[in-house]
Structure formats: C-alpha cells, structure tokens
Assembly symmetry: C2
Homo-oligomer: 474 residues x 2
C-alpha cells in the first residue's frame, strides 16, 4: 500500500486505533458523516468508505435512522495464553492416529470445518482466477502442456522477487524456485539439509503437517518455547543452537500456526544472526505474511539474511488457491541442493497454474483481493474473540493473532479437547484439538479454530454451541 | 480398441505384416484400391483409409498417376544390440556433471532436442486440452481452487482404473493415488519402501532420472543385464532377490527407457511370482504402455499381481501434457504408506489439471489422440532406423522398440559419445550420451535418440548430419 494508501483507510485507521485503545467503547456513537467530512476535509464519499471499511471489519455498526456505533469491545477480548513450555525431544507416538481421527471426514463437506487452516472457497476470487486460466492458455507457450523449467515459471519468480523486494528483501528471480505449495518447499529444504536421525528445532505447538513431514523423513523434533504474540523464545533457541543439537530450525516468522505469533523485526534480525553464528540454516515458513491486519506487511527473516542462511518459503495457497499447488522457496546458499531435490522428485511443477498466479501478481488483482480478504478475516477474528469471551467457559484464553487464519484457544485445564471433539463431531462441528500440535504430552485442553470462513448468524450460533459443549465438560 | 477394431486397421495390419516379414519389399507395387475393395469386401473409403494409415506410418508411398508402393525395407534396419552386461553395484561418481552438461541448455529452444524423452508440443492435442480446461473450471467444484483429496481426483482415478481393467488388471479407484507425474509416483514409492543405504535393482542401462532420484535418497543401485527386446534378465533378477541384496526393484515393463524393451506376458508373470516368492516389492514404471505400435496395449505386471506386491506407476506426461504433472500409482498393499508420503510432502496434487485429464479419459478424446500419436511415432521410428542404417557408421546397431519415444543406438566401440556430443552441440544437435544411463564405466559408445518429433526433410537432414559427425570420429 505504501505509496498509495487511500485517504479513507487513513481515517478508518485513526478510528480503529481509538476503538482498540478503548478511547471509543462499545455502544459509543461515532461522529456523523458530515462531521467526518469537515474534520478531515474529505468528501462525503470518502467518509462513507471509511465507515464502510470499519463495518466490514465489524468494528462498528449502523443503526437505522440513528447513525454509526462502536460494536467491538476490547473489554470483551479473552486474555492471551502464556508462552508455551515444552520439555524437550519427544516421540511421534500416536500422533498419526489422532490426526487421522480429526481429518478422516474431510472433504465430506458436511458441517462446520473449524479444523482447517485455509480460507473458505467463498473468500477466494474464483471467477477472476478462471479468467486468468483462460488468459494463461493463450499467453503461455504450448498452453502449459510442456514441462516448465525446473526452477519454475520465470514470470512468477520475477513477481515473487518483486514483492519480496517491496518488503526490503533483496531477491531476484534467479534466487527463487517454485514448488507445489509451501509444504512441498519445506519438504525439499528438509531433504536437502538433513538426514535420517537428525534433529530439527521448531516452535511449540507445531503445525501437525510439520510433525508428519519430519516423521516421514526420520527426523527428530526439538520443540521450543514460544509466545503467542512474539514467537519463539530466543534464549531457548540459542541454547539449542549452541549445543549443536539441531541440523536446521524451522520458524513461521509471521502469524504462526497454530499460535498466530508474529516476530518483531528485532527478533527476526537476531534469529538470522544466530543462524550465521552457529552455522545452522533457518527454514522460514512465511506463507501467512500477506494476511496481516496491521498497516503493513511484516518483514521476513530473509530480509535480514546477507549470507544465504535463510531458506524463505511461501505460497499463495492461503490467499488465492490451495488447489493450484503453487508455492516457492528462496533457498539462499542451498539453492543447488534444493533445486536438485525438486528436479529429481517431480521434474517441474504444474505449468499452467503458475502462469495464472504470475498474471495475478503482475496486475493489481492480487493486492485488491488481499485488501478485502484481510478486512474480512480481521472482522471474523474479532467476532470469534467476542464469542469466546462471551460463551466459552470462564477462564478460557485465546491468542490474539495479528494476521493469518487461526485462533489458538486454551480452555480450563480440566477439559480434554480430544474428548470434546467426539461430542462436537456428532453435531458436525470439527476443530483441531491441541494434542495434535505436539509430540509431547501437552495441550490437551487447547484447540485451534479456523476463522477463514464466511461470518453469518449460523456460524455465530455454531460457535456458541461449541462453547456450550465445552462448558458441559466442566 | 478390442471390440471396435476398425476394418481399415485390420486391412492395414495385414499389409504391414507382409511388409515387416519382407513378403512385400521396398519398391513393390501394392494392389490397387479397387483390388483391395474386392479382396476384402469393403468400400473404397475403407480401402483408402487403410492405405492412408500405412502412409502415415511411412511404410508405403503414393506415386502420382501410378499407385501405391512399399517404402519401408526391413533389409535397411540396423541390427539389434546384444543384452547388456553390467558388472554390479557402482558409484554415482560424476554422473551429475555429465547429465547437467547435456541438459544445461534445455529450454533454450534452439536446435534439435534429440536428448529428451517426451513428445514435441506439435504432437499434443493442445486445443482440445484448452477446451478441457475451460470445461473443468465449470464442472469442478470451486473451479479447482480448493485442495483436492490426498488420494486425488475421484473421476480421474475411476478412469485410470477403467483403463487398467481393460487390460485385465483388476483395480478400482480406491486402489489408485494420483501424483505430480510418474517420477513423483516412483519417488513416493521409494520413500515408502526404502531407507538410506538400501539397494534397489533396476534394468541397465537405467533412465538417468532414476539414478538421480535414487542418489537423492541415498540408495545404492544394482544394475541388471537387460535385453533390448525382452527386457530384464530373469535369472539375474532372481539371483539378486535370492541373495536378499535388494529392498525393492524397479522395472519399466513396457517400452523401457532407454532400451525400448517390452517384457512378454510370461516374463511379467514370472517377475510378479519372484516378487512374491522373495517378498520384495516391485515398482513398475508403465508410463509408456499406451504408446504401443502393435495391435494391443501390452499388459502390466500389475495385471498378474494378486498379492499387492506391485506398485504400478503411470502418467499422461508422455502422451498428453508433461506440464500438467498428472501421474498415478496403484501401490497394492503399500497404499497407506505411499498415500502418507504424498500427504506429508505435498498435501495434494493440482486439482484442475487432474480434472481436465479425467475428462479426456472419460470421452473418446484420449484414444483418438493416441491412435494418431502411435502412427506418427511408429512412422518416425522406421524413418530413424532407416537413417541410422544408411548414414551412421558401419556396424552401428539400434534397438527396435515396439512402442515409446526413444531409440538406443550402439555405435562402433571406438566412438565416445560424450566427445561426439561436444561436436554435435555446436551444430545445435543434442542427444543423450550412453554414459549418463549407468553408474558403471559403460555405454561410452551409445546414445539415446528421441523420435517424438515432427518428421520432415529438415529432421532427416539433421539426423544424417549426426551420422556424418559420428563417422568422422572413426
């Protein structure tokens, strides 16, 4: 947005800050449109747009024949959980069984899928992507029937580099390799950097996809303490690196999964310095970075990487089209190794979907879509938080993600969410129980909820039902 | 074709046999169209189609105002090389350097790419595939933006099973997992079945993609003697299995790469029995099976697999669209393990391209396309063989593939094809030198040529030039 931040967004930003700092509280009447026009010296249309923006975020509401009122209340936000404290390396045990219990019904479409970490189809620009496909069949030589280069679509890599550059990250298209999604990028990185029996450090709780991937490669996982807002504990990380215990470490720098944490620029710098100091490469998972709720996209660790120690992974799976399987990695000094993994295991990625995404990034279509998506998701998050505060058991805590799709919830310790799951799934409500995010005997009373859905009264009611069922467990 | 073999194809088949058995020889005049009509009791149109078919295959030619004449001559076919005799397990050595020397210029488009093993874009039904894409955006829920099931597109898996069933292979859609191409399928199979340090048996020469994949997984390769026509040496294979030296073995059952060999049904049966007897799973690479030049599609080893010991891999990369990255595996009793590899390393395959291929297989479009493709390729092969006999050094031998895309050539032993490569590449002719198909010190005087190109005078002239350059090496 940098250079073309719209006036209406500036005005909305000021009011949002007042609401967030409780200067404006639930039920407070907002200045009339005419007042806004006068105060900010803008047109009626701009004022209307600012209020419309805040309404989409569900921070304010219109009351017919009366005006605009604050809807959101900071007082009604659940408190944030403490930093996690995993105890060390643990075994894979029966994580497999638990995960498949939760995800076995996937794709059956019935019920409320709070268990996923991807946006609902309704939030994706399907019609525009279809137009892009048509265009790509015309523009791409051979309409994408031929093998793409091993490195990936040139146009797409240029766009990824351009976007990285915009956040201060000095990359060019040659530094980038496309992959079949972000998980696939991480898989190639791990295969390039590790061997069976090696240990990889990760944030705890860990996205279970990472647990499964590491298991399939015969890797041990060292889970490190992580704060729901600031991310990984830097001291614990340095300890692990110092002891030469780990071959590589994997971080979700922006809007972690499941905690939603976002590392500060300072922490990112430190992490890169640690990687250099101890000569341990960092696999940075930045697939949620574009879905920020603040004013700007947070930077990546890669931005601070001058020695090629960071393997920066991303994708558009969470923002445009999971099913396109388009992701990428900028593997720094490990480029040759990672490229070989891709070449030897898959030759190349699907040509046509890469071209569609390249087109989307080249034009303003991606940014336009993101702007709406962020508003919707932020609004959803505030609604989820309100429901948790109002209807979940006394003492329930929730993360306060500054971006991404998932909310981490800590229920009172008595509640076992694997048991709760069995009761909610018969009512067709599926969530991700905390236990599947660790190899340790932890997070039994936690859950991860996906808020990348379409908010409506039905969703509201279903979330209340989930809260009620949780209460019954006490 | 089974039930609807067209009459014109039957007639063409009879004449083709007469040509192949030298009953009809180059220059012989063929019966007039009227005679064919009378002899076979068919319409003029059918007779014309039969001759047209033979013309496309370049077996016969029309001479204006004179009639049809035999063009092809068995006498001008180069003789077939002997079975290979690798000596045992060897090291990866500098295979990497050699392969990248040959393929570094790929995608630069210039020159004659005889080094590839895929059909030229001109041979692929691009317009129809594009129509299929448009259709798929309409028919597939969410136009393919959503994750596909881990197992893969249901419609596609049903079609794969249906086609397998047609060759006597009792599969249903649940037995099949889709992948990002055939190499990707084999990669998941190897990851599911082996660990670093294990040994895998393969045919020698080995497709270098397999060498690279195995190397990336830390596997040793046992290269086994293979005959250019009948495939792997069954005694050598049994010896290896008996000694419990190998964890799994990998065969290209139909139209091997690079030899073009095709195992008999009897040999396939035996191989499956050996897999069972010694409890060693077989990874069957059947990606060329649809490109047969005989009357019927050869069967797969999987057809004879009653105990789930065969992991049958295939794709449409060689027949429809390499860049779509659509392949599959029927992993028998190893299904869960292979499925997990796919899920953990890539979540799912690209949704939309799978749907397009499903549509292509469902209708007759795939078979129609294949019929033409096979004719073209068979014609090309006969032309290549003629050029080799006429213009390559005295004593040059060539494989006689019954399908597929590649011809294996053994030049006189004095000629080193890596050195020859350096001389042809400056004239923009690229081929695959024999040395890159083995980890052993072998095949220095061999090369693999791709005949999946469009035959014209220019190609003819370039192949002659290749022959001339080879002669100069003597």
């Amino acid at each position: 947005m940098d250079k073309k931040t719209f006036t209406y967004l500036k005005i909305a930003g000021v009011i949002e800050q007042q609401i967030m700092s409780s200067l404006l509280q639930t039920g407070d009447k907002l200045p009339s449109l005419r007042t806004v026009c006068r105060e900010y010296g803008v047109s009626q249309n701009t004022a209307l747009n600012a209020y419309f923006h805040l309404e989409r975020k569900m921070l304010i509401e219109t009351r017919p024949k009366s005006g605009y009122y604050v809807k959101y209340s900071r007082a009604r936000m659940p408190s944030i959980p403490a930093a996690t404290s995993p105890s060390g390396i643990a075994s894979y045990g029966d994580i497999e069984r638990l995960v498949s219990r939760v995800y076995q019904n996937l794709g059956e479409e019935a019920g409320l899928q709070l268990s996923l970490g991807t946006p609902a189809n309704e939030l994706l620009p399907i019609t525009k992507l279809n137009k892009g496909l048509l265009l790509a069949t015309r523009e791409l030589k051979g309409s994408g029937v031929a093998y793409d280069k091993a490195e990936g679509n040139e146009r797409l890599r240029r766009q990824i580099a351009r976007r990285a550059f915009a956040m201060g990250c000095d990359l060019n298209s040659d530094d980038i390799i496309t992959t079949s999604g972000c998980l696939n990028a991480i898989a190639y990185c791990l295969m390039a950097l590790t061997e069976k029996g090696d240990t990889v450090a990760m944030e705890s709780p860990v996205s279970f996809g990472m647990l499964q991937l590491a298991q399939s490669l015969g890797l041990k996982i060292l889970e490190l303490p992580t704060h729901p807002q600031t991310g990984i504990d830097l001291n614990a990380l340095e300890d692990a690196l110092k002891k030469k215990e780990v071959k590589t470490f994997l971080l979700i720098s922006n809007f972690g999964n499941p905690l939603g944490s976002c590392m500060s620029d300072e922490a990112k710098k430190t992490v890169v310095q640690l990687a250099e100091k101890y000569n341990v490469p960092l696999i940075e998972n930045d697939l949620n970075g574009d879905v920020y709720f603040d004013q700007h996209r947070p930077r990546s660790c890669k931005t601070y990487d001058t020695n090629g120690m960071v393997l920066w992974c991303g994708s558009i799976s969470k923002t445009l089209a999971p099913g396109y399987r388009v992701g990428w990695v900028a593997p720094g000094r490990f480029k040759e190794k990672v490229l070989r993994m891709k070449l030897y295991h898959a030759i190349s990625s699907t040509s046509i979907t890469q071209e569609v995404i390249a087109g989307f990034l080249e034009t303003g279509r991606y940014e336009n879509h993101l702007r709406k998506l962020r508003q919707t998701l932020h609004g959803n998050l505030l609604n989820y938080s309100r429901v948790v505060a109002d209807y979940f058991p006394e003492g329930t805590m929730a993360s306060r993600p500054q971006g991404g799709f998932v909310l981490w919830i800590e229920l009172p310790e008595k509640i076992n969410t694997m048991e709760l799951y069995e009761k909610t799934i018969v009512r067709k409500i599926s969530f991700a129980p905390g236990r599947i995010f660790t190899l340790q005997n932890q997070y039994h009373h936690c859950m991860r909820l996906n808020y990348g859905l379409v908010w409506d009264d039905k969703l509201d009611a279903r979330l209340k039902m989930l809260g009620d069922l949780a209460k019954k467990e006490l």
